[in-house]
Amino acid sequence: MSDTPIDVRNADGQAAGRAAPDNYLTHARGFRSWAFTLDHKRIGVMYLVSLLFFFFLGGMLAMLIRAELVEPGMQIVSKSRYNELFTLHGAIMIFLVVIPGIPVALGNFVLPLMLGARDVAFPKLNLASYYLYVAGALFMLAAIAFGGVDTGWTFYTPYSTTTNTNVVPVVFGVFILGFSSIFTGLNFIVTIHKLRPPGMNWFRMPLFLWSLYATAIIQVLATPVLGITLLLLIVERAFHIGIFDSALGGDPVLFQHFFWFYSHPAVYIMILPAMGVISEVIPTFSRKHIFGYGAIAASSIAIAVLSFLVWGHHMFVSGQSDLGNMIFSAFTFAVAIPSAVKVFNWLATMYKGSIALQTPMLYALSFLFLFGIGGMTGLFLATLSTDVHLHDTYFVVAHFHYVIMGGTMIAFFAGLHYWWPKMTGRMYSERLGALSAWLVFIGFNLTFFPQFVMGAHGMPRRYADYPAQFEPYHLLSSIGAFLMAAAFFLMAGYLLHALRRGRPAPPNPWGSATLEWQCASPPPYDNFAVTPQAGDPYDLERLRYDAARGWYDPDEDAKSAGGAGGAA
């Protein structure tokens, strides 16, 4: 390749970076420069802050639930209040945190950078998506403020059409959030199709982009069905249209079909980006090229396709036909195949690698462990005979928390720690990071593993009270939940501290080969002064650790791969 463009890393990188601090954070100042920004990085940061706020809120609701369940009987809240607690915990966590989660917060920030692009394809639409998210969130918060809702996050009819709580604002909020999700997905698909840099064909894309692409397909195809379902539910409540009301000739089970036609693919909206993050973190911290790139990419698409064919496994006991049950059960088992393909490829990537147990890697390893358990227990639920026993017990609760919390959220934190230096330009305390990762891991297992046991013993989900025989499990579970909360507060502490006092981050602290690490930390407003040439995103060999400066330098050959405009 020809001679090099200007590159801050080659000059005494950080000093130059500080001297001319024109990055996306300092490019413009003031409230309006954030509120009306079209910069994907700032929008990503705004999403991140909002998400973490709602994660805190949903987490506090979970703490109330766990506090109530410490011992049998009602201590803290009334039974109807308890119903509202678990509903809002579920609705906030699912619709405001986990579904938007990785794509909007991390994906928005990283996707154009990984493509060497200046922005997503439709920056205004991106900002509009954010405000739709805020509007949807406000509707949900309004429902809390005006008395809550008690249907569970699934809004099953006929209860949701007959209860006196605030179903309509919450459902309308979720409807709006759906459009936010559709527009984000649409934006990402177009960006990945049209804004790839020279040299990056489909099979040189970082796997995180493959996973965002697969996710975006599901967002565009499945979310509208949720939209129309929720619209019908609103019309049902407002005008008694009768489509889901058996007294008027409608069919309440139809709602379940529609709801899960979206909400099961939504599970993959949650987990696919998480798998993408893991596919970035594991090779970087194993100092090894990803194993089975094509298999991981293809399995993302396979999961996206299969996700549309398994919704009926939520309804094995809802009176589906036996044939339907068997077909849905078989497809559900089939999902295990691409998921396992990914896990084995990650393991093979680590095999004989030079593994560095830094915080992002600790979270990635937690992910493998927890997602493994979550995925395997899913097979128990996919089996028709065992599902009849386990349906609506704590076994299900434990299963989806292992996948959603132990999978998606743990990967979210892996990604947050991985890209934190890029986003903020600061390093966090590695020791506290590792400590909190361990505490989260231990607390998580303490919380949810006992739930498998008590679920198998017959403890139903969503009950505010329970017989004394379940007390030890509930107590352990609550202790674990409080431990996990403490670990998250610790995380919030050291991350906030890092914002002010953290060591300035080098452009490429971990030695990753994807394009976002080629621009300064934090990235300049325009991302790349010159569109970089993309190479193999996992060619980690060419990066050399510079012990004196404490970061990774590309070797001479790779320096020409592109530059950052920080010092220009």
């Binding site: 463009p5 920056p123 049209k194 804004l195 008694h240 249209i241 009768g242 008027l248 000739g249 010159v530």
Partner: protein
């Protein structure tokens, strides 16, 4: 600075409509089109949910659809179909005019499209009003009104039937459908309920040319119904109207949305924002309008032309 193909366009040399993160106009155009198509896909899936509702209820209760569709005015529905198809034509022509930079033609054709949309909504509201007047609504609001005072044998006929709990009286004749009289009438009489049975008034229903046949087994479909003959009303007729109003209502909302966008395009065209080099928004508006049109082309036979 090193020059690379895609970054060679310096800032400031852009055409005014080229956004800074695209390297050239072709890339921007391709992105816009792909984005619009994806949006249309999501719109189709939005309607797809309603088509599934339709398929579900029609498959399980064909008799409801066969019975109730006759209350819809096929003439008005047919006119509306023609209106929308014409509007798609004017829209497509408008895009062509924009491509060729013919501003006057563009403005005229957009205005014509807008007018067609307005006509569609006007006719639709006439239909809705008739349904409202006759109590042919959804759910608990389904209270068919009789316009003629008395039919043979109906002593206590005045009460509006609540279809939620119809009493299935043993019907001497199989459920059947009026068909023969041919004349279209939208505002004629309505059936009267009598002990769970319905008495067909003279020409109360806009008729199909021949009697509905085929779908529902056991219906003696080809048999014409004389005025005054007793036919059984199937259960849950209100479900048909729930589906009808949900589908046409959502479609009407899309017509309104499309008209708003066309109106904006009209304003922009009047201000001369488009030329033969830049007409993407008109193009994309056209795509959306065609989708709205195509959805109606599915709705019309599914709801009005059931046999």
């Amino acid at each position: 600075m090193h020059d690379r193909e895609s970054s060679s366009l310096a800032h400031g040399e852009h055409p005014p409509h080229l956004q800074h993160h695209f390297s050239d106009e072709q890339q921007q155009l391709d992105s816009d089109k792909l984005g619009m198509w994806l949006f249309l896909v999501s719109e189709i899936l939005l309607f797809g949910g309603l088509f599934c509702v339709y398929a579900n209820y029609r498959a399980h209760h064909p008799e409801v659809f066969i019975y109730a569709h006759r209350y819809l005015d096929t003439t008005l529905g047919g006119i509306n179909t023609v209106v929308l198809i014409c509007s798609s034509f004017t829209m497509a022509w408008a895009v062509r005019a924009a491509q060729l930079g013919q501003r006057r033609a563009l403005v005229t054709l957009l205005a014509l499209t807008l007018l067609a949309g307005l006509t569609f909504l006007g006719i639709k509201s006439v239909e809705y009003e008739a349904k409202w007047k006759h109590g042919l609504l959804w759910g608990t609001h389904y209270r068919p009104v009789a316009e003629e005072p008395a039919a043979p044998g109906s002593a206590s006929g005045g009460a509006a039937p609540t279809a939620a709990a119809p009493t299935p009286a043993p019907a001497p004749t199989p459920a059947s459908v009026p068909a023969a009289t041919g004349a279209q009438s939208s505002g004629a009489g309505q059936p009267l309920r009598q002990g769970g049975q319905w008495i067909v008034e003279h020409s109360l229903i806009p008729r199909a040319a021949q009697g509905p046949a085929g779908l529902a087994s056991g219906l003696a479909a080809s048999q014409p119904v004389e005025p005054g003959q007793i036919v059984e009303q199937p259960k849950n007729v209100q479900v048909f109207f729930a589906v009808y109003f949900a589908m046409t209502g959502l479609h009407a909302i899309h017509v309104i949305a499309g008209m708003v966008v066309i109106a904006i395009m009209l304003l922009l065209a009047l201000r001369g924002r488009f030329d033969d080099g830049y007409y993407t928004p008109v193009d994309l508006t056209g795509l959306f309008w065609h989708l709205v049109d195509v959805i109606w082309i599915f709705l019309f036979p599914l709801l009005y032309l059931i046999r």
